[in-house]
Symmetry: C2
Subunit: 202 residues, 2 copies
DNA sequence: ATGGCTTTTAAACAGTGTTTAAAACAACAA
DNA sequence: TTGTTGTTTTAAACACTGTTTAAAAGCCAT
């Protein structure tokens, strides 16, 4: 057993673990090298820089998780059901992978340039298919005519931001981790309801 | 003129400018010292560390901006009007002070401990008075009975998150800065409407 | 085995935040 | 004034960071 991994993979895996454990800024390349059991300079040999290594890890992580979301957006599901499923899957994903939130946050926060990761994150955004569906249903009079950008920003905000302010919410409500998870679970019903309601004809 | 400022104030001001200009991580203490026209070690003499200096600046910035918001939440305004004003003021604040967003983001992202800044941020959260108002109106049957925590998280999410994903939204919609501001302006009407709608009896 | 590639290594480099111990300054007492 | 005490400032060093270098080791086909 063991020894199947080549050097590049060992660095990638060790860095992934450490980045998720203690954040990118707080893990040094020397630490990565030690954990991976390789020489310090090899990190720069295989990935040009620490930043680049992070890019690679981040892109892979987002790609893994976004596929299912895109599949839902591009599916033939009826609009309301699609929204329900999208929100469910997205919230579940962030629940199980809380570090993805802080990853994305850290990217968005140092927002200048950084187009590499931007491209990756973009895959979490609306698809053309979904945008068209929203416009079509509006034209048909099945829903209120709605600016797709606003609707999608609403949706992303209601899904993702609660995770970003998790500590704040827990602190203010004296939530345990379990109670916060319960709170999030409630949002899986509440958020789609709110979004669908905003599409209601009046 | 000039020369009114003592050393501590010079450091504080120079650091504030630089932090806002290029972010905390990307400004070195040597840069701060140079800009402030003081010796390197004085930064550690007056503030114990760079982190501590950031805390001081951050706390002051948040305090400045949160006062008006708290005043609205604690006012006697009718609920719907209060929501409208709160959203308006909050969005205006973030529009004029985009760096406050990235500041808060950077705090929330490195979420462990960091209670000092947490306390500061907490002042941006719901007040008891507002929570009570929401429950009372529900009991009176004027609005739908609503979990205040959910409602407030909804409100904060719809207000703040669009700023966090500004670059993503601009990139996806080919927005200019001006167009993004227009988009945000639209949200000043849209968001209160959505929130008030979620309180509607049914 | 010899040459030409890739991979690995130890050492150094330039940058960071922080600490030290001595110097300069200030204010007050003798 | 001089001397003493406490505060403020300084230059230098420290320990750490990410990155580069140039030499060594390994590999593989000729």
């Amino acid at each position: 057993m063991a020894k199947l991994k080549n050097t590049e993979q060992k660095i990638f895996d060790a860095a992934t673990d450490l980045f998720l454990e203690k954040g990118v800024d707080r893990t040094s390349v020397r630490e990565i090298a030690t954990r991976a059991g390789i020489n310090l300079a090899l990190m720069n040999y295989y990935f040009r820089s620490k930043e680049n290594l992070f890019d690679a890890i981040f892109t892979q992580l987002v790609k893994q998780n976004s596929e299912e979301l895109i599949r839902v957006l591009d599916s033939d599901l009826e609009l309301h059901e699609k929204i329900r499923q999208y929100v469910h899957i997205y919230i579940d994903m962030l629940s199980e992978n809380p570090l993805l939130v802080s990853f994305v946050m850290s990217i968005l926060h140092r927002s200048r340039e950084r187009i590499t990761e931007m491209k990756a994150i973009s895959s979490l955004y609306a698809t053309d298919q979904f945008t068209r569906q929203l416009i079509d249903e509006g034209k048909k009079g099945n829903i209120r005519r709605t600016n797709p950008t606003h609707f999608f920003v609403d949706m992303l905000s209601l899904i993702a931001f609660p995770f970003a302010i998790k500590m704040l919410v827990m602190d203010k409500n004296n939530f345990t981790e379990k109670e916060f998870q319960e709170f999030i679970k409630e949002r899986k019903e509440r958020v789609p309801e709110m979004l669908i309601d905003s599409l209601r004809l009046r």
